[in-house]
């Protein structure tokens, strides 16, 4: 059984149909990348999957369960997590406090208000592991707004991973990064264990083809093709509408 | 975190020590010393008078004239029986909580001998409770009109130089039945003072053979009275009795005119609203033909008043209203009581008041009733007239020496 299945999703803003019967299926552990020109509706697609946006019709299944009416904030507890295209962090808090908040979300005591957070040792331990794993240990007391852009992008992913998701939605993890940062981040993404299924939006074709198991092409709100990198590369129609016409814009 | 907090406390401690150094004395051992001073009763001690008035905020138009009256009196009489008079005015901005704070400041910090104040009913009651609990200094209530202060809530330490709701409303009822018409509509502000006036109005109006065909309650702060005016128009009465204090009342009278009711039904006003010169200026000829019941109006003919109006005009370049007179008489009363008591001790001052004090007021001779703690005074019915573009008032009837009932008369509450 597939881990996640999205069927015939339709979404419109005012009169414009942004998503038309968008459909996708994710297998356990796979790295699935969505590509498509600007304005194809990729971020909207992710927002719909995550419940950030409501949509008109279509179904979203997670492990065979229909989840389209589950509020966004509860999807984390079902095993979903996401990052944002634009950095969406707690800028006035330190790196460590950011991580704390992400880990805390899954803890049973997160609504406790008569005991200091610093007395919960498990959260300290887990945050340390996280920081070590992502090589941010020495930056933990720095406020997020004082981090470099690349570091902030990395922190985006770290926050999403703190919830120990089964499925992680990455919205352009390398957008705006310098080439060296992109390389580093790609390496880190590859290190994410296979127990986590990845659904990623990405423009950088090098990143796409070096990480993807499967690729879905979204064009004018329609999922026109889903297949292995080779299949996508070989498809003439894709060459035409994506690599042919749009490649220059996304280089 | 700890370091910052600790450091912060060090700074705080320095600051507070500096501050406290300025405030001498300690709360723990001074309680006994404050009592001594008064008991010695050196007859030449200055008199310290503290007044808590609404000098800003919604009721500034009532508090300020009281202050002017007090100032005027003590300018004319800077000494009482050889004692220097020290006036302290505090502003409560119309808030009883602020008034209570100012009361503590005046008694604890300034050590005043007599407190005056209570521009609004709630403040008068709040101060009354406090003064009655403390039983240290007498309170002269300058405006508050609620009846219970003469009856259930009477306190040896609380006396008023204004008037009571009963004095106004029962005379209004009597006059309306005698002089205007037997069929009346009442419009009153929907709050405690309004209900009290109506409660006192109806029995005396009915006693005179009158019948109330409708009572309209307008919420405080009503800006548009047109709905009520149509309602009054429907009832088609002979008289309209209104009690709407403050800005609302001025609005009402204006709208009463602009909706054409002024010429149809006689307005009887029982809130001493219109004889205030500024209100007349605001509402203009809308008051013409209206009847008002008041304990004072500037055109009153007696010697004291002529002198008083002249002196007030010279000092403030305005015509006095009855709030000024309340303030002026407060000064006169205090001066007389201190003179007779020969002491500043609260208890002795009260015992003089309890014997009954008569003073010559611009509103005619008045007497402090030792039973009800309210003045026995004349009530005047006046009518607005327009002469050469000027609005004046003409006395049409005098009810002499109106005395509060000694106990709660137990009217049906409205």
């Amino acid at each position: 059984m597939s881990l996640m299945k999205v069927e015939k999703l339709n979404k419109s803003f005012k009169a414009i149909n942004v998503l038309k019967d968008a459909t996708i299926e994710l297998q356990q552990g796979e790295r699935h990348v969505i590509i498509g020109p600007n304005g194809a509706g990729k971020t909207t697609f992710i927002n719909c999957l995550y419940g950030t946006l409501k949509f008109e019709s279509g179904d979203v299944f997670l492990e065979g369960k229909l989840i389209k009416d589950v509020p966004s904030h509860e999807r984390v507890h079902l095993g979903m997590a996401r990052t944002f295209q634009k950095n969406n962090l707690f800028n006035d808090l330190t790196v460590e406090e950011n991580i704390y908040l992400a880990i805390l979300s899954e803890k049973p005591y997160k609504m406790n208000f008569f005991k200091s957070l610093s007395e919960y040792l498990d959260i300290k331990r887990e945050s340390k592991e996280m920081l070590l794993q992502w090589e941010m240990q020495d930056r933990r007391y720095v406020k997020v707004k004082n981090l470099s852009y690349g570091e902030q992008r990395v922190l985006e992913i770290m926050l999403a991973l703190c919830a120990k998701p089964k499925i992680l939605l990455l919205d352009e993890p390398t957008s705006g990064m310098s080439p060296s940062e992109t390389v580093r981040t790609t390496e880190l993404i590859k290190k994410i264990p296979r127990s986590v299924t990845l659904l990623m939006i990405e423009h950088d074709m090098e990143v796409v083809f070096s990480t993807a198991d499967r690729i879905t092409v979204l064009h004018h709100g329609e999922t026109i093709l889903s297949g292995t990198p080779e299949e996508v590369r070989g498809n003439e129609m894709i060459q035409e509408i994506y690599f042919g016409g749009g490649a220059r814009n996304h280089a | 975190m700890k370091k910052t907090v600790v450091k912060f406390f060090q700074i705080l401690a320095v600051f507070s020590l500096l501050f406290l150094a300025a405030c001498s004395g300690s709360a723990i051992d001074s309680s006994s010393s404050s009592g001594n001073k008064e008991e010695e009763g050196d007859s030449k001690d200055p008199v310290k008078l503290g007044f808590i008035l609404s000098l800003t905020g919604n009721f500034a138009s009532m508090g300020t004239p009281v202050k002017e009256g007090i100032e005027l009196f003590f300018e004319e009489n800077p000494e009482i029986d050889g004692r220097k008079v020290e006036l302290i005015f505090e502003d409560d901005a119309g808030d009883p909580q602020a008034a209570l704070r100012k009361y503590e400041q005046l008694t604890l910090n300034q050590g005043v001998n007599i407190v005056g104040g209570g521009t609004v009913g709630s403040i008068a009651l709040a101060l009354r409770d406090k003064v009655d609990a403390d039983k240290k200094v007498p309170l002269i209530n300058v405006v508050g009109s609620t009846d219970v202060m003469s009856w259930e809530k009477k306190s040896d330490y609380v006396w008023r130089t204004s008037f009571s709701a009963w004095q106004y409303a029962s005379i209004s009822g009597k006059f309306t039945a005698e002089g205007v018409g037997k069929n009346a509509v009442i419009i009153a502000s929907d709050y405690v003072a309004g209900h009290e006036i109506v409660t006192d109005f109806i029995p005396s109006f009915e006693e005179g053979g009158g019948k109330v065909s409708d009572i309209v309650w307008a919420p405080l702060g009503t800006s548009d009275f047109s709905s009520y005016l149509t309602q009054i128009d429907k009832a088609n009465p002979e008289a309209v009795f209104m009690f709407i204090p403050g800005a609302d009342g001025s609005r009402f009278i204006q709208q009463y005119q602009s909706f054409g009711l002024q010429d149809k039904y006689t307005l009887v006003e029982g809130g001493s609203l219109l004889n205030a010169p500024f209100n007349i200026k605001a509402v203009g000829n809308a008051v013409v033909g209206g009847k008002m019941i008041t304990n004072y109006f500037p055109e009153l003919e007696n010697e004291v008043n002529e002198k008083f109006v002249k002196a007030y005009q010279a000092k403030f370049n305005k015509i006095p209203d009855n709030y000024v007179v309340n303030g002026y008489d407060t000064g006169k009363l205090i001066s007389q009581v201190v003179k007779e008591a020969g002491s500043l001790d609260g208890e002795k001052l009260v015992s003089v008041l309890k014997k009954g004090v008569t003073i010559d007021s611009p509103r005619g001779p008045i007497e402090m009733d030792p039973v009800t703690h309210t003045l026995i005074q004349n009530m005047y019915v006046i009518e607005g007239k327009e002469m050469n573009g000027e609005i004046t008032f003409e006395l049409i009837k005098t009810y002499e020496n109106i005395e509060m009932p000694k106990e709660n008369v137990g009217y049906k509450k409205y």
Binding site: H77, N88, K115, L117 | M1, R101, E104, Y191
Partner: protein
């Protein structure tokens, strides 16, 4: 927890020592400061830690006050009166919070303002409980074994509740819930994405603050023994707002300093001149223009100059201090 206890003990000692050095009137004023400090802290909690700007916090203060004033006609024990004040204002906070918290920022401010104004009009017009004339009571704090009558005992009574409130609030803001609340203030969208039910956090904080403000209102009645509709007024809500801003937003102790400074300023300036409200308005503007961090931050800067310390930058929770250094560098 340990830190909280130490700080709380320090506070307790200073409060116990104060009456030995001050005059009766200052004692009277300080009692008011302590009560208003509780009120200001409760607003400081939702504003500085929850990001909810309220111009209607006086609603809870007033409800607490009226609860005690009305119930004191039947019972005198503080073990009934004060919990009743807390619970009733908490319930009101829950009901209004469910409507108000659905909107953010300025919307929230406007709704809270409207709700408070509604209560003010209701209590002013009502026939119940004295209406516009207010409701006097003769209640004194009855602890069961003794009744507190003297101003000194009232001061300690208020002081005890102040310390208790401060301690509970410290726990609250450092707890998992408090940290989550701060996260909601910083970035609501991300908190949702992380799996937090942000409205729940805001409502809990709002109810908590409402209950605390109700406690302050209840205590206020023990001091003034008079409840009046003015307790609900926009003016009251503005007053407490300015206390929070004077002291400094985002700190727990800031509102306390703000309450102290404001009450003394108000009292002395309004004695000297009738133009207090003009001065207060200018004070608002000056605070906005020159000193966004409030007095507490100012004191910290002064403190740092007086007693320099090496490891301030490492101080991981001293958020304001680190920020200051950075902005200092930037200049």
């Amino acid at each position: 927890m340990k830190k909280s206890i130490i700080v709380t003990l320090l506070l307790a000692v200073s409060i116990c020592a104060l009456p030995f050095v001050i005059s009766p009137f200052v004692l009277f004023m300080l009692t008011e400061v302590l009560i208003m400090a509780i009120f200001a802290m409760s607003l400081g909690l939702i504003m500085g830690f929850g990001g909810l700007q309220s111009l209607g916090h006086s609603a809870f203060f007033g409800i607490g006050a009226y609860t005690v004033a009305v119930l004191s006609q039947y019972v005198t024990s503080i073990y009934i009166l004060l919990p009743a004040a807390i619970i009733l204002s908490g319930i009101f906070a829950l009901l209004t919070g469910l409507i108000a918290v659905r909107n953010k920022g300025i919307f929230f401010l406007m709704i809270t303002l409207a709700i408070t104004q509604m209560l003010f009009l209701f209590f002013r017009q009502s026939d119940l409980w004295g209406g516009a004339d207010g409701l006097g009571t003769s209640v004194k704090p009855n602890l069961g074994f003794m009744e507190l009558v003297s101003p000194l005992s009232l001061f300690y009574f208020a002081g005890a509740f102040f310390i208790l409130s401060y301690f509970v609030l410290r726990l609250f803001v450092n707890s998992p819930l408090g940290k989550g609340l701060k996260g909601v203030m910083e970035n609501e969208g991300r908190m949702i994405a992380l799996g937090y039910n942000v409205k729940k956090y805001q409502i809990i904080a709002y109810v908590f603050a409402g209950g605390l403000a109700g406690l302050a209102g209840g205590l206020y009645i023990f001091k003034t023994q008079f409840a009046s509709p003015e307790l609900f007024s926009v003016h009251m809500a503005t007053t407490v707002l300015i206390m929070v801003f004077i002291g400094g937003l985002g700190t727990l102790f800031g509102p306390v300093i703000g309450a102290g400074v404001f009450i003394f300023l108000q009292n002395y300036i309004s004695t000297m001149t009738d133009r207090w409200s003009l001065i207060m308005g200018l004070l608002f503007i000056v605070i906005v223009l020159y000193n966004r961090g409030g007095i507490l931050q100012l004191l910290q800067i002064v403190g740092k100059k007086l007693m320099p310390s090496k490891n301030l930058l490492v101080d991981k929770k001293g958020a304001t201090i680190i920020e200051l250094n950075e902005s200092g560098k930037a200049k």
